[in-house]
Symmetry: C2
Subunit: 286 residues, 2 copies
């Protein structure tokens, strides 16, 4: 009888969980060390950030595969609108295409899109979402040619001003339907959607064809830093089992990607400990 | 011909805008000073916080009326669930009733309810919202006897963990419909709802019978403190005209209550300046 105790093939690590070593956080593990640490524990995949890859996309991809790991995705597009986007439309398009190129080089099937906040000079979400739709449609055509799928990630409404005018799964499904490209879907992150009592209905509306990714962490009841104080699964108030059930009921059968930004807790710990705890919590509470 | 230039009867000041003098913020104006400052500028009403009133509800109410101001409301109920609520169900009920008594003494027609976050030992919103419904139903009966209406205020989803398991207008309308009391409705605050592209539809669903209050401020694109860095109208990214239009289209014809928590900006200024700017911005951008 096969022993599943070390089979965590449904689990993927987003490298942000180990502290983004290029920011001075975390233990400074290289992509190769992350790959080895995940492979040793039976993780199914890993998701990298662009700045970790540099010019080594192909080598890192081969290293992951030979270790038995999928490269499950790449983070992320530039902001497409809002105060934090590149300086103009051309710069946004060029950087968007560069991120797609890198995903292709890494053989990452999915590039995550974080759309950016309210476009300067406008009010509310609607005008910004229209600009996003145009820029995503252009990128979908480009990505199609290199076999990359694009996953729109609605962020928590707290980021609505500067980081994402896309803040609900409902709006993200509407945006996918408006763009109507075969390589455009959604990434569902519990940190961003846990509060939404309409979530299950919207996931059902999205269906298996639109759900490209599922991200795990937890929302701490008393969140001290809105960007970098995410909780490990089980330490917060999100209904993780309920959300995972809703995502899978809607037809998703891909990996569960753990992504914990935590500068004052998990990023201060030994990555070996963090990787072990992720596995334990994934088994126990998700 | 009547000169409307000094008629701001649609405008009410929430005293929080001047810095909650009991917290060491703001210039320390007494309720009487606030009343005089608002009356001198032609405001239509004022909304107090419980801690400013103490045992002087009746005297303050009479002072406001003789100055030509409505006491438009009182902030607020205790948290009814979650980690910040009073210690047990009885303590919650008693403090809820005390807040209703004070509203009655003040002849404030409306008491604002902030429901509290996720109840310890539970996950997600649903269990907490059920507890809220029970506790609000009890309070509605009590408030009915003293002629006070209760306004559920859905807060921004960023407060979902600790301060409010009620984070959308949609859920608030559902809660009103579930409790089904004639003195239960909603307070709509642009800070909490500006991001919601479903807002106009939900306000229409609420209708004039359920919308008890409308609060103005703005969401700053780069918000530095999630509790105390609200923007003055016009300084942020919320579509204030669009939201006000939607609220009034739904049938609301009460005052617009300005409530700006701003410890590093507006709370540091002379209250006379703040009261003047509120009037200017209300006229110019709302």
């Amino acid at each position: 009888m096969r022993d599943f105790s070390n089979d965590h093939s449904a689990l993927a690590l987003n490298t942000a969980t180990l502290g983004h070593n290029l920011d001075g956080f975390g233990a400074g593990w290289s992509p190769e060390q992350v790959i080895d640490g995940c492979a040793a524990r039976g993780y199914g995949g890993v998701v990298f950030w662009r700045r970790e890859i540099g010019a080594n996309a192909i080598a890192i991809s081969e290293r992951a595969k030979s270790a038995g790991l999928k490269v499950a995705g790449l983070c992320r597009s530039p902001f497409l609108v809002g105060p934090l986007a590149p300086k103009d439309k051309d710069a946004i398009r060029d950087d968007f295409r560069s991120s797609i190129d890198m995903a292709a080089g890494l053989t990452a099937p999915i590039l995550t899109i974080v759309v950016g906040g309210v476009e300067p000079g406008t009010k509310g979400m609607r005008d910004s979402l229209k600009l996003v739709a145009e820029r995503v449609a252009d990128a979908c055509e480009y990505a199609e040619k290199v076999g990359v799928r694009l996953a729109l990630e609605p962020l928590h409404p707290v980021y609505g001003g500067d980081r994402s005018c896309l803040v609900t799964v409902r709006d993200a499904v509407d945006l996918c339907n408006a763009v109507n490209a075969t390589n455009l879907g959604l990434a569902i992150d519990v940190y961003h959607v846990w509060w939404d009592t309409d979530l299950a209905a919207q996931l059902k509306r999205a269906g298996e064809n639109l759900i490209y990714g599922f991200h795990l962490c937890d929302w701490l009841s008393e969140t001290r830093d809105i960007l970098l104080d995410r909780g490990m699964m089980g330490d917060g108030v999100a209904d993780l089992r309920g959300i995972r059930h809703a995502v899978e009921e809607a037809g998703y059968n891909g990996v569960c990607e753990v992504e914990v930004f935590s500068k004052d807790n998990w990023w201060k710990r030994d990555p070996n400990e963090v990787l072990d705890v992720v596995v334990e919590r994934f088994r126990a509470v998700c």
